[in-house]
Amino acid sequence: MALQLGRAGFKVVVLEKGAHYKKDDFIHDEILNSRRNFFMPLPWDEPHLVRRGEKEKYQRTNTAWTANCVGGGTVHMSGYFYRLKPVDFRLRSQLGAIPGANIADWPIHYEDLAPYYDLAEEELGVSGAMVPHPFAEPRKKPYPLPPLKEHPIANEVDAACRALGYHPLPTARGIISEAYRGRAGCAYCALCGSYGCEVDAKSGTNSSLIPAAIATGNVEIRARCMARMIEVDTTGKAKSVVYLDADGVAQEQPAKVIVVSCTAVESARLLLNSSSSRFPRGLANNNGLVGRNLVFSSFGESRATFRLKKRGQSWPWLSDPAPFVQRSLQDFYLMPDNRHGFRKGGTLGFMFTHPNPIFASIRIAGAGKSGIFGKALKDRLREYRDSKILQFEIYGEFLPTAGTYVSVENGVKDKYGIPVAAITIDRHPIDLKMTRFLVERGEEVLTAMKPDSLERVGDAGETTILQHGTCRFGNDPASSVLDKNCRAHEVPNLYVVDGSFMPTSGGVPTTLTIAANSFRVAHALVDKMKRG
């Protein structure tokens, strides 16, 4: 958004609550990246309150925070860059009403977004291969970069899938496989998700769009500036952003147009905290929908362990350190009928487990009565050393329910003194049936590879860093917050361009979709501003 506005000659100020890290700040240190507040705030400084259902008490957590820094979640993402499919834009008309689920068609079609998918893939840098596939979404151009190198186990995943009648496809990645636009290609270091990329090969906006935006000369990035509220003028237009600067001093930045993009949870929080006499329930919230219809992504996972010594003969390549498996299954994206209790499914992504050793070892040690220590623990750690662990993750539809939403809790404030976001989750039972079904299909594939052990990690979870829906877009101002160009129905110069606009989650990680949509919205906004 900032890039396209800057290119068009408009002056843009970007306020970011976290730091502006450079690639040299990204270090292979698990304690720094994954276990302290380098990326995520501490939950007692800036909690997200979370509860399962309105009867439960809130807990202070860091759930649903993405990295607090310039580039946000794209800095420490794994970079699975799938597109949505045409059905994702038409869930209500394709599936009909689902009791207890507030699904809606999008006010745009896949074809409206497709050119911006092309553009986003080009600007960010995406590596992948187009393969013919019965469930493939239409695309006009090949990926800008060839696929990343794969571990030989990918061939075994393919064979196992095909033997079961499924159609494996290579996973496109927001990681550049070779030098691209002044950035170096991937070094295959294996510390990708949860880390920033020290060679700029990962296509986070911090490595791609933001440097390009700064280079236009029209975009200023102000790091460590925490937006507190958006002020409105007497006519109800957004006037300025009040924020705390790096020294904690309150500042006010006036603007002709204000674009909010803090993640679906935090954007809703900012709007809800921006109350005024004109908008007593929060900015653009006179219909009470800001924060409602929160959707994450349904999550499940299983792991297959292959012991290196045992497999040395048959699979001599197993110990190859290549980090990427790059395989997906989308055979269960949309089921032809309801015989398994759901129609809309999602994607299975196959990968090796993350190599972070502290995380892995604490998990192995367990806790409570089933926890182990001493010799038993050490033996398990040695087994881990002798293992290659292949897993799949589910990215499944997450049906919007009346009981899943973001609110603000005035009694609980963060270290800035701002009321925090409170998340209430009430899952739709269909999601759980669907996720379990997908996990079972993934386990069929893993079982066909004859692993030494198979473990189900979860089949009823949600990925809370993939977040959407809190300011859903639509044509009807009574049932949506934003119009089809992501402009607030109630505030003519206010836009929201993170995942908030999405009324349904889709069955893939949505990073690329959010980027593509912001290019689409930028195009419309630039047009409108040029026309005056």
Partner: protein, 204 residues
Amino acid sequence: MPRRQKANRISRRVFIQRLTFFGGGVVLIGAACKRDPKNDSTAPGKPDASAEHLTFSPEEYALVAAACDRVVPRDEDPGALDADVPVYIDRMLQTVEMRKVRLEFLAGAAALDRRSKRMFGKGFAEATPPQQDDLLGIFKDSPHGTGEAHWFELLMVLTMEGLLGDPSYGGNKDRVGWALVGFGTSEPPPNYSGSKHLHAHGGH
């Protein structure tokens, strides 16, 4: 404000236990941090020049070393003591993020010692390895939410961080922890200090 303290304790527990979507495991441990050390009324007195350790008294250090040694004992492969895990814990508990954890950890260690004296008539560090295992097992198996169970979790988490974390924090000496689990990915630059880096660049 006891209620507030309890809420913070819960959030630390949530952290320690939570398995996250990122395989990388965004599972922080740490404590309420106001970044002004002057307000740190709980900070230990400045260690006197003769003191060997930053956080622990010699007796506490001996207890922590004995406990770490039972969690990851030396056998044909190096154990927690070979990795300097107690050095790591001693240093890490000085960081501002760990201020509240420091208090909880010291209180738990004292409770372990008391229990040892009650059961075996001697401090934990002097108990035999099987007696130490019994005591640690009691703490580990204590009901969820008790101070004992919480302390064992802290011990486990800090031991694993000290065994498998970046050597600049004082543990994982000669990378023996990484060798134990077969972690071979590239490591930080030579003069890197994790604690300094966090405080120079991070900290939300």
